[in-house]
């Protein structure tokens, strides 16, 4: 663990640098080879609004309309999942909490599928994010009600409540999909949406995810001290002047909005919210002043590199992004469970 504030700041700077390198790599990577000079010139051209003659229109369109939104969505979705995991682990005082484990992600998925099934998504691009937000919020508040007792969440109850709600959400999604099969247009939309991932994402998706997650992150920064204090327990937080009820409610709303936005754009991508905050807490310690920015970059790095890994090594096959994150995250989750069992014995 890093101890001095300077080394922590340096580490966060390092994360930011790594993030920029990865973002550039991701833009360079794709079925069509474009060298780095061309890419840089196209990005520059976009800023000054002037395209040099030797660059072709289709090259510009690949970078600006295909790869750039993909990279931006990957970084914001990854960042939001990691941040939400951090907030939930802090609020539940439990390192095993995360959006996917607590059934929040599947709740958001159910909301989105409902919006598609009943045709709300045809009226407005905001219907899916709105319903995802409602689904995520309902799931989280149910799990929270069941599992928390005076601000302390029992590990077993919390995980079981999450499992139950997840199962219910997944069953409801299957039910809607089954019912919709008679109307192939709707069924196709649901199947396409549930596959998730970053393929075919456009600037429309960017404009859904970007404002919500940016404003969510800025609001979370205001809660850096209450989040630290909540880690000590409800009574401690109250006794040093935190309005626990209000703080909890606001944090729940912010994190639900962020999960809803990212799930409605990229689908359920599991375990980033569990693994990233946990590793960063081991390195930086529990103080949220450092963890919040670190999770922002760490989550973006993780999702970008998972996507990069897929495009580099599995070009031909269409493996969903969630497979990679779950493949790495689920063993880590089991490792945490085993370690906790050892500690208890």
């Amino acid at each position: 663990m890093l101890n001095s504030p300077l080394s922590k700041q340096l580490f966060i700077g390092l994360l930011a640098a790594l993030f920029l390198v990865l973002a550039l790599l991701a833009i360079l990577q794709g079925p069509v080879d474009l060298n780095i000079n061309t890419v840089v010139e196209i990005l520059k051209a976009q800023l000054v609004n002037y395209l040099p003659e030797h660059i072709l229109k289709w090259q510009q369109s690949i970078i600006i309309d295909v790869r750039l939104p993909r990279v931006i969505i990957a970084m914001f979705a990854g960042a939001s999942l990691a941040l939400c995991g951090l907030i939930m682990q802090g609020m539940f005082r439990n390192p095993l909490a995360s959006p996917s484990v607590l059934g929040v992600s599947s709740g958001a998925s159910l909301g989105a599928v409902i919006a598609i099934y009943f045709g709300f998504s045809l009226f407005s691009a905001w219907a899916i994010p709105l319903f995802a937000f409602i689904g995520a919020g309902l799931s989280l508040s149910i799990v929270y009600r069941i599992a928390s007792n005076q601000g302390q969440a029992n590990i077993a109850t919390l995980l079981l409540a999450g499992v139950a709600i997840s199962a219910l959400n997944v069953a409801a999604i299957s039910l809607l999909l089954g019912l919709s099969l008679s109307n192939w247009d709707v069924a196709r939309m649901i199947i396409y949406w549930t596959m998730g991932g970053l393929d075919g994402r456009t600037w429309d998706h960017v404009f859904i995810i970007l404002p919500i997650i940016c404003s969510g992150f800025i609001l979370l920064l205001f809660y850096n001290k209450p989040l630290d204090l909540l880690l000590l327990g409800e009574q401690h937080a109250l006794s040093v002047g935190v309005d626990v009820k209000r703080t909890r409610r606001n944090l729940l709303i912010i994190s639900t909005a962020m999960v809803g936005a990212s799930v409605s754009v990229v689908g359920g991508i599991g375990f980033i919210g569990l693994v990233v905050p946990h590793i960063l807490r081991l390195i930086l310690g529990p103080s949220h002043r450092y963890l919040l920015p670190a999770c922002l970059f760490g989550g973006a790095i993780t999702l970008l590199s998972a996507d990069l890994f897929l495009t580099l090594f599995f070009k031909a096959s269409a493996i969903p992004l969630g497979v990679i994150t779950a493949g790495l995250g689920a063993p880590f989750f089991l490792f945490l469970l085993i370690r906790q069992r050892v500690e208890i014995n």
Binding site: M1, R93, P95, L221, F222, Y223, N224, K225, D228, L229, L231, L232, G233, Q235, H236, L238, S239, V240, G241, V242, D243, R281, G285, P286, S287
Partner: protein
Amino acid sequence: MILKKSPLLPQGVKPALLSTQDLCFAYDSNTQLSNINITCYSGEFIGLIGANGAGKSTLLKLLLGLLPVNKGSIEVNGQTLKKLKRREIAKQIAFVPQSFDLPFAFTVQEIVMMGRNPYLGPFQLATNNDQSIVKEVLSITDTVHLQDRKVNQLSGGEKQRVIIARALAQQCKCILLDEPIASLDICHQFETLDLIQSLTKQGKLAITAIHDLNLAARYCSRLILLGKDQQGDICIVADGSPVKVLSQKNLKDCFNIRADIIHQQQSIQLHNITPIARS
């Protein structure tokens, strides 16, 4: 502002620091606190005693504003508690909770600095003044040598001192403690009570829930005994000096025990404590 005389200290015009007027509270229809009237002054070390379930923790939570008052009111430093925001309450009343388990690795210094939270904005860093207050309370509680240690690696006694240091960093005139010595060994029990006593001698008001009647009699300047009245409601059975409160009758009625009461200097000790067989 209500000026009442303390049952012990005839200070006359000295204003009450913390007082309740006809306080009533109920979790459900069965158990309830009814008509609690307490007036506390600075410099008092008040022990809150009573059998299990007699409402000691509940009363402390009410005094902190953690539970909603059904009837009556609480005043702290002349202001109505209900009208104060949590941050304002945290500048008036500090609280030392009963349990302190923390799976997260904050350093002792960070924990104690959290006591300055009511005075700092969301992005404000600790000022020199905050730093020197933290340094001072670390030395008062004899935890200077622990300041860079991780709090999840400390022993029970060390943790208790750290959490008292955090409460002191709030610089409040009132400190409420919920059984601060329940999980400590006998030596640390004495050390902790010595510390609280020395704080009250400097003019702070300490109210502590406490189970050990002998230690309560030895350290506290005043005891408040909670028990049940004929209707089964929780009320104050006795309020005053240990000599007055720890009588044979009160011990029998509230704790169901018999004991020899030995007078020592200005205090008393209980010997040969035996339970009374329930008929």
